[in-house]
């Protein structure tokens, strides 16, 4: 993409929103399936989401027109995300309030969990655009699966055993499976020398591997071997790595890059022909 400097607020917004929403979904799952609530997790999730929402305004060129983003609801994936963000935050805040005041309900948890999961899915769908090679396929689902995995790890690691390890295992396995598929998709993409990709694409294995280790492998290992809040910190670094890697791997198609790719192809072809004629002078 043409604006590496512009990705900072997007990385911050999506990292905070995914982490916060993931905690809410995992907490709601705990309540619905195991009838066990962990109020500090809900408070933290709502705060992270609110912070992410505030940061998201930062990347707009015209911040005072932010409300206009609702005009495209139903047609624009970005508008859908903008709609889900405050609705999910409100549902999470309501569930938190009910929990703190001693009136939690499974129905409220279910609604908050589903709406927040839809918000996570909407984040992924924003980036499924035709000209971006590396933002196709499973990349639309990694905010949902990664956020939920982080939420489960965070609750398990800071609750001192108050969480449910089975939930952690389930959500981490799901995220690992989805992310492994994304890794395969990105690895299979052929990038010409004159590609529109940033420097990240040449380190795609490292970026994707770091995310996988930080968000899935290492926290799970820590929780199984030595339960500690450090697992939550490592997983948070994994969420951040996920977003940094996501934007670093952007490969946007433009006419400029298409021209450069064609020139590259012809130059390579010409060199091949030259080598061929050098080695076989009679041909």
């Amino acid at each position: 993409m043409s604006r590496p400097a512009g990705h900072g607020p997007l990385v911050a917004f999506t990292s905070l929103a995914i982490a916060g929403a993931g905690v809410i979904v995992a907490a709601a799952y705990l309540e619905v399936v195991h009838h066990h609530l962990f109020p500090p997790a809900l408070v933290a999730g709502v705060l992270l989401q609110a912070l992410g929402l505030a940061v998201s305004i930062g990347h707009l060129g015209q911040k005072r027109r932010a409300a206009l983003a609702m005009r495209g609801v139903g047609r624009s994936a970005l508008s859908n995300e903008v709609l889900f963000a405050p609705v999910a935050l409100a549902c999470g805040a309501l569930l938190t309030g009910m929990t703190v005041w001693g009136r939690p309900g499974t129905t409220a948890a279910l609604i908050a969990g589903v709406v927040t999961a839809l918000f996570l899915l909407s984040i992924g769908l924003v980036y499924r655009v035709g000209g971006q090679k590396t933002w196709q396929g499973c990349s639309a689902f990694t905010p949902l699966t990664g956020g939920c995995a982080f939420g489960a790890i965070a609750i398990q690691s800071v609750s001192g055993g108050g969480g449910v390890l089975g939930m952690v295992l389930l959500l981490v396995v799901i995220d690992s499976a989805v992310f492994a598929q994304r890794w395969r998709e990105v690895a299979a993409i052929r990038i010409p020398a004159a590609s529109p990709a940033g420097p990240g694409i040449s380190h795609r294995g490292h970026l994707l591997g770091a995310r996988f280790v930080l968000l899935d492998v290492l926290p799970l290992f820590l929780l199984l071997a030595w339960p500690t809040p450090l697992a939550a910190v490592v997983a948070a670094a994994g969420v951040l790595m996920d977003r940094v890697g996501f934007y670093a791997l952007a490969v946007q198609h433009t006419t400029e890059h298409e021209v450069a790719a064609v020139e590259d192809l012809m130059t390579a072809g010409g060199q091949t022909r030259q080598k061929g004629s050098d080695s076989q002078p009679g041909v």
Binding site: M1, S2, R3, G6, H59, L60, G61, Q62, R65, A66, L68, A69, M70, R71, G72, R75, S76, A77, L78, S79, V82, V126, Y127, V129, G130, G131, Q132, Q252, H253, T254, T255, E256, H257, E258, V259, V262, E263, L265, M266, T267, G269, G270
Partner: protein, 194 residues
Amino acid sequence: MSGAGFLLDLHRCVGCGACVLACRIENGRVLATAWRRVLPLNLGRQPAGPTYFLSVACHHCEEPACLAGCPSRAYEKRPDGVVVHHEERCLGCRYCEMTCPFGTPRFDEDNGVVSKCHLCVHRVDAGLLPACVGACPTEALRYVPATAVPPADAVRFVPGFVDPAGCRPALHFRTPAGTRRVELFRHLGEALRR
């Protein structure tokens, strides 16, 4: 053609940049956010090699990705097919930069909004040609009204210009003439198909 657009004759275009300058003067654009640009395509990257020029701006696509993705409905497709951008509705979110597969929308850091070619609708509506077309000294760049049909020998895609997102751009080309360029053009097409 189902909407207004451009026809670019690759044989006639000499890459003089008059279209870029005319567009900038007409619409008050600085170079960094110029709506039209001329991309030389030098086959084989050799100084003496055949070159052709792609003069491109907004292609006023039949299925514009910018319009579909815009959260604030800042883009509008007129009945004649021209895609116009209303800066007063733009959030400056730059999502259209991501969705457009041609790199057309340009973000203006000073104003905090995106802008792009509007096919000089103020001129076209007054019966004039778009500034870029009017300034082209070789008549390589032509305006094709919505009611007109492109020439029979016009093609939609050439090496260096493809449509990866199915937007169906309203830009047509006439391919280069001359033995060497035609031959290379054919080789290039075959290589790209492989």
